[in-house]
Amino acid sequence: MQTGTAAVERVFREEYGRLIASLVRRFGDIDIAEEAAGEALVTALEKWPTSGVPPNPGGWLTTTAANRAIDRIRREKLRDSKHQAALMTHDDTPHEPTGPVQDDRLRLLFTCCHPALAPEARIALTLRLLGGLTVPEIAQAFLVPETTMGQRITRAKKKIAAANVPYRVPEAEDLPERLGGVLTVLFLVFNEGYLASGDGDPVRVELTGEAIRLVRILRQLLPDEPEVLGLLAMLLLTDARREARVRQGQLVPLTEQDRAGWDRALITEGHQLVRQCLGINRPGRYQILAAINAVHTDAPSADDVDWSQVVALYGQLARLDDSPIVALNRAVAIAELDGPGVALALVDRLPLAGYHAWHATRADLLRRLGRTAEAKTAYDEALAATENSAERAYLARKRGELV
């Protein structure tokens, strides 16, 4: 059987998080794990194209990488007791996860998202170690120079080793808060992909796709955590609208989107998850956001959206999270229910002058109120606050339509 380089790399990428996580557990060191994984890839690229992909590629990669790691430790005569101990141990742990909380990837995910690490480092480390993205890919996704991203990741790994950040799923009493940190990281990865902050591609599917993949893994590992289900539902229902959201390089607002272009399979799955959350009845931030998205995706047309339910859900969310961003989104829904004047009064009170969406919302409300001159100024401010090309194109068109 012939196997091309691309196929080998795809398998490697799929298995990367599991591979690194099991090597980190075994050798207690991220650098050793990454290097050994890299060597296993080189070997796979040599062998698989002629011998074919082995029946259990993940197991093959793990065994090969572990042997390389042991070789390296022997070669370098690392005297550290931890490494010596690893050498002595015969690892008979099966490659497949043995139970939800035992999974090595879950431990590593909690390590990558540890609150002692800088927030931007948590995102980068998660994409690197669990997503298997390369440093150049992550640097490109976040529009920072490769050296900066490399240093950020190296520094975080050094802190994990030196400060002894554990590879462990937190204890039950700490789990809700620490899980919140993990969900935040995965949500931010998705957001950066869905409305990229730079002037490159307006949507970065490598980030949205990776975030969904990692949340799906998290759901397998913690199948009964309603906030995990909620985040997955929210991401699926948002991603379902991706194709309809940009038309000819311009962002299309939700109410103007062609609903026939939405991905029905993702919507069905998202709605099922929302129903599952309702059954568990332990509401939380992501579940409420998922429910809001479910209301939107449930309506056959923009005129059929049940805005009173959307406003009620945002009210529920605002009680959990008093951030001005939630208040802004609530005001957008209130504009549909009570009119743009009521909404503008709410929006103007919010301390969000540095946020492009605040200016864009004000611009839209002022336009609807016929306050054209003020609307133009607000569109200009919104344009100055975002580099996303699709959003800029949309804002420029709306501004140009004002007479």
Binding site: A116, A162, A163, D174
Partner: protein, 120 residues
């Protein structure tokens, strides 16, 4: 096990009653810190701890030249200095951070947690 320094940062100059505001508040903080120390010892995490006199009592010595140069004052002229510290010996950073949270509450100050490269 890893050793960590937990250092408490506070104003460089002490007011009356330390920086606690009143005699009662100071005594409460001392009692809470004492209780925290007892718990550290009971849990087997204790290595060493102490409170420091104010920054103005510090002296800097540079012995790298031929003759030592002695200078009055703390090494860095800042508004905030280390006021006291613990050295602990715990399994990992999660344990250290939990202890730091309790230490911070007890002594009424922010606590910096930093791993040792090694202990002599």
């Amino acid at each position: 096990m890893t050793n960590y320094l937990m250092s408490v940062h506070g104003p460089a100059e002490m007011e009356e009653f330390g920086n606690y505001g009143s005699k009662e508040a100071m005594e409460e903080a001392f009692a809470a810190t004492g209780a925290f120390n007892d718990q550290l010892k009971a849990d087997g995490y204790w290595v060493f701890a102490g409170g420091l006199q104010s920054g103005s009592t510090a002296t800097v010595v540079d012995g790298q030249g031929e003759k030592p140069v002695v200078t009055d004052g703390p090494y860095l002229e800042t508004k905030e200095l280390i006021g006291g510290f613990w050295v602990i010996d715990v399994p990992d950073l999660d344990v250290a951070l939990k202890l730091a949270a309790a230490a911070s509450k007890a002594c009424r100050g922010k606590v910096e947690v930093r791993p040792f490269d090694g202990l002599a």
